[in-house]
Symmetry: C2
Subunit: 202 residues, 2 copies
DNA sequence: GCACTCAGATACAGGTCTGTATGTGATTTT
DNA sequence: AAAATCACATACAGACCTGTATCTGAGTGC
């Protein structure tokens, strides 16, 4: 019989925990100071370990970046997968609390990816996911409105996704001049105008 | 009488030249390796000087970043000011040759601005410029089409500007999946659909 | 329960970065 | 034309960062 609760973790469990904490800390620090601005020591320290822990879990910082992106992508995919369009939008809104940090991290990773092919491939996967989620959502909107989309639905998804990013960036630069709801407003305007266009072409 | 051509520049002219070359080099290196990844030494070296030249022209790297952004903003403003909508689009297209480098620089500066209020103010000025240029262009399009804009024209300018950035980012991540003309295509689609929506509300 | 293994800590060597202090030669001033 | 100035070069000190090599103590297998 197994009454015991394993307060003491096994070796592999413990390492997984360490790795997870390092990734968490790295995400925070990358958003705060940039990938280049955060040292291995700082990351390990914030996670509550020494540099030794880092180097026994990752080859170097580049590998950490890849792993971080991989983990975030998988997590996002699991959270979103199977949700309806409405729920995905709600999920996006709830995440919007710390949007700037999240956007900063994504942007840092993007810049990093320009200089590292491996990271670029990871990021590409993540972005494809977002685009197609948007495309699916839009498809549902058109179906409900009973209108034929005015262009390739993947293209429209790309536009919606790109627009969200662009608007968040603008809001981060000038928070006073760009309202919080600007993203929602803009996407809704797009939907309405595309439906209007769809009506005509039909 | 002054026949002489000043091959030998005066003190102030020479310093201005040095400053300009340092800014130029900094722009290149920031795009290549990031603001944090480019050292003062590398910047000075690429410009053809030593670190002494740098520190006699700038307090530190932060001041250089501010100056760089200021200079680019002014240059852009001078180039675009007074041009028609069509010519501005042509100018944008011509610049598109080395878009990725240009976008990387802007993104680097954006990230930097998140952590430095002074830079943020500079960047805000630059972005306002771009947004209103777009707004003006769109206004002209609506005027020609004889249609009332479907929303605040500034809002539409913001959308167009944000969308361009977002699309360029997506193209940098997945060059094979996003065509070169995607930006032009997307903006044209927006114009058409907004005109369609405008017709109805009229 | 004893030897083994390995995650993580500690110590160290080599390199790079920044900012300052001082030197120098060309230009400016008087 | 001598003195003063100043843009830029050079040298140096201190901090920090990376990656490796070695150590230790807690799980693991026999």
């Amino acid at each position: 019989m197994q009454y015991c609760i394993p307060v003491r973790l096994s070796r592999v469990e413990k390492q997984a925990q360490t790795r997870g904490r390092l990734l968490e800390a790295a995400g925070e620090l990358f958003a705060e100071r940039g990938v280049n601005g955060a040292s291995v020591e700082q990351i390990a320290e914030r996670a509550g370990y020494s540099r030794g822990a880092f180097y026994s879990n990752f080859e170097d910082k580049a590998e950490l970046v890849v792993a971080l992106l991989q983990e975030r992508t998988r997590r996002e995919h699991n959270e979103v997968k199977g949700l309806s369009w409405e729920r995905v939008r709600a999920w996006n809104r709830s995440r919007a609390r710390n949007v700037t940090e999240w956007l900063a991290l994504r942007t840092e990773l993007w810049l990093y990816s320009l200089r590292d092919g491996r990271v670029r491939r990871q990021l590409a996967e993540r972005e494809r996911l977002s685009r197609s989620a948007h495309a699916q959502g839009l498809a549902e909107v058109f179906r409900r409105a009973g209108v034929k989309p005015p262009a390739d639905i993947e293209f429209l998804g790309l536009i919606a996704h790109a627009l969200e990013d662009g608007l968040l960036i603008q809001r981060a630069i000038t928070p006073d001049e760009v309202r919080d709801e600007v993203v929602v407003d803009a996407v809704e305007l797009l939907c309405r105008s595309w439906i209007a266009l769809g009506d005509r072409t039909k």
